[in-house]
């Protein structure tokens, strides 16, 4: 098993020093060092506590080999490597827990995600990103205002795992053989920012097998790939016809629109005013210098208007919670494990059990024939 080596890999992978772990696990530094150097075997309780800190399942330490780490693509990487590793560890743990629940409930699905018309990174240009966004928009039936349904479609139809955490950074995407595609968004960001990040990360997820092939670009997207992802996100969230139609409505019989009117349109589409202004560069051929000027003016507008209403998204996806509750009530997930997955107190977790589920098989059934 070589648990010692795995303990070191897990600790370093989650960005902890021996001293930090020692304080958290209440285990001496020399003991930890001995465990990592295989000078002594840990008791299971010690291993379990360390596994919790490193956000690894127990199986990680018991399996014969160390599984390869999944690549995680960051949008706005945090300033320190430790912070990055801790967030990645938490994100990976959530994805693994989600997958465990899917397996428990027999709902681990690997849907075929739509792909672009090209298969090599060199063949990808802005036109291809634009075409691809249109294809995705049609295939997912995202409608006139895609931001309102994108997240739900990705989670429920394509089984993309989308989590929200409070972390230093904007978004992360990953794709794994084991748990499929996953996206992490910053829950503290405003809704419009999260919408854009989601669409941006979706580009990475859908083109993963194209851009992650080359060793040099495997861990970090190139500047050009990021621009393509932005173009895709912009085109996906601001469909040509819907945006043109809305702007036409706003300007009425006139020929110009005010920044205030455009801000309203941006709010309706769930994007920032800046994103809409950049989209206008393509829709109306507005020169880039002019867009820059409007963005400048738009920033002044922002300070004189009340901030947009936003929401605070839940950390866990609806489907994750639904799977956990069903697994608990089906007698496949223990209450303590449910409490851990759902981040609840014992009393809160107990509330998800019902008397009917425990002692009788009587359930209310409604005919759906």
């Amino acid at each position: 098993m070589n648990i010692g080596h795995k303990l070191r890999v897990a600790r370093e992978g989650s960005g902890y020093t021996l001293r930090q772990v020692s304080a958290q696990a209440e285990v001496g530094e020399s003991t930890l060092s001995d465990l990592e150097n295989s000078k002594r075997e840990p008791k299971f309780a010690q291993l379990s506590r360390l596994a919790d800190i490193y956000k690894r399942p127990i199986e990680f330490f018991l399996m014969d080999d160390i599984p390869g780490e999944n690549v995680m693509l960051w949008r706005d990487t945090p300033s320190t490597e430790d912070e990055k590793k801790k967030t990645e560890a938490e994100f990976r743990q959530l994805c693994e827990q989600y997958h465990r629940l899917e397996v428990l409930m027999g709902e681990a699905k690997k849907p075929k995600l739509p792909g672009p018309e090209v298969s090599e990174p060199g063949e990808f240009g802005f036109q291809q990103a634009d075409n691809f966004a249109r294809k995705v928009q049609n295939q997912f039936c995202l409608g006139d205002i895609p931001s309102t349904s994108l997240k739900q479609v990705l989670e429920e139809n394509l089984y993309v795992k989308i989590f929200h955490l409070d972390f230093a950074g904007s978004a992360i995407s990953t794709k794994s053989e084991e748990f499929g595609s996953a996206i992490l968004l910053n829950r503290n960001n405003r809704l419009w920012r999260r919408n854009y990040d989601l669409a941006h990360e979706l580009f990475h997820v859908l083109t993963w097998d194209i851009f992650r092939k080359a060793p040099l670009s495997a861990n970090k997207p190139s500047e050009f790939e990021e621009k393509l992802a932005n173009a895709f996100a912009s085109r996906l969230l601001l469909p040509t016809d819907s945006v043109r139609e809305r702007i036409d409505q706003v300007k009425g019989s006139g020929t110009t629109v005010t920044l205030e009117q455009l801000d309203e349109v941006a709010r309706e589409f769930g994007v920032s005013l800046d994103a809409l202004l950049w989209r206008m560069l393509h829709l109306y051929g507005t020169p880039a210098e002019e867009i820059q000027k409007y963005i400048q003016q738009g920033s002044q507008l922002k300070t004189s208007r009340p901030p947009r209403l936003s929401d605070e998204p839940d950390k866990l996806p609806e489907r994750f919670c639904s799977l956990a509750i069903r697994a608990l009530r089906d007698g496949k997930l223990s209450l303590m494990q449910f409490k851990k997955y759902m981040d609840l107190s014992y009393k809160e977790a107990e509330g998800y059990l019902t008397d009917e589920e425990g002692l009788t098989d009587e359930k209310i059934s409604i005919s759906a024939a």
């Binding site: 098993m1 648990i3 075997e41 840990p42 008791k43 299971f44 309780a45 291993l47 379990s48 506590r49 596994a51 127990i58 199986e59 330490f61 018991l62 465990r100 629940l101 397996v103 428990l104 697994a327 007698g331 496949k332 997930l333 223990s334 209450l335 303590m336 494990q337 851990k340 107190s345 014992y346 009393k347 107990e350 059990l353 008397d355 425990g358 002692l359």
Partner: protein, 182 residues
């Protein structure tokens, strides 16, 4: 001699016994053994979350026994029974069940978790599970308690014989379905 000698307690019954304020009496009548993880990380508060449970003094005064299971024991348990993907239990429950499966004394597990009873049924160890209701009845501590009707909202039914039987039976069905001839 105590009524129950080789009794492993899961977190739920410990929490319940502290909540009912009969823990001290209970351990006078039963030889209680608890897994290290359950003692240190799981059975921490009473049901209302207000009162802290501290098992350390009981361990220090040898009033209960806390077991520290080897990783190898867990590894054997994993490899032998291949329960991954079918049930998902917490580390304390893994430690308890792995210990139960070591060929030593005829241990009994008292739990209030359906998965624990279900796994006992699946492992063909149905007779090694017991509910808190049954223990309290046998030790004369449960006379005033009406488990199924007393407080359904608090989930007291989890401690009943009926609950244990229902989930153990489900595990026995799993055993039949998983057996090669099924």
């Amino acid at each position: 001699m105590k009524r129950f000698q080789f009794l492993l307690l899961d977190a739920g019954p410990i929490i319940k016994l502290f909540t009912l304020r009969i823990w001290d009496e209970f351990i006078k009548r039963c030889d209680v053994t608890i897994s290290r993880i359950i003692a240190d990380d799981e059975a921490l508060y009473t049901e209302d979350g207000c009162e802290q449970i501290n098992l350390k003094p009981y361990e220090e005064h040898k009033l209960i026994r806390i077991i520290d299971v080897d990783v190898l024991c867990i590894d054997r348990f994993y490899r032998e029974f291949k329960l991954q993907g079918k049930y998902d239990i917490h580390a304390g429950e893994q430690e308890t069940l792995a210990f139960l499966c070591t060929p030593s004394e005829n241990w009994m597990v008292c739990s209030s978790d359906q998965v624990v009873f279900r796994i006992l049924g699946r492992l063909n160890k149905a007779d090694q599970g017991i509910s808190l209701q049954e223990i309290l009845a046998a030790t004369g501590l449960g006379s005033g308690l009406k488990w199924e009707t007393a407080n359904p909202a608090a989930g007291d039914w989890k401690y009943t014989k009926k609950f244990r039987e229902k989930w153990t039976h489900k595990g026995q069905e799993d055993f039949v379905q998983d057996s090669p001839s099924a």
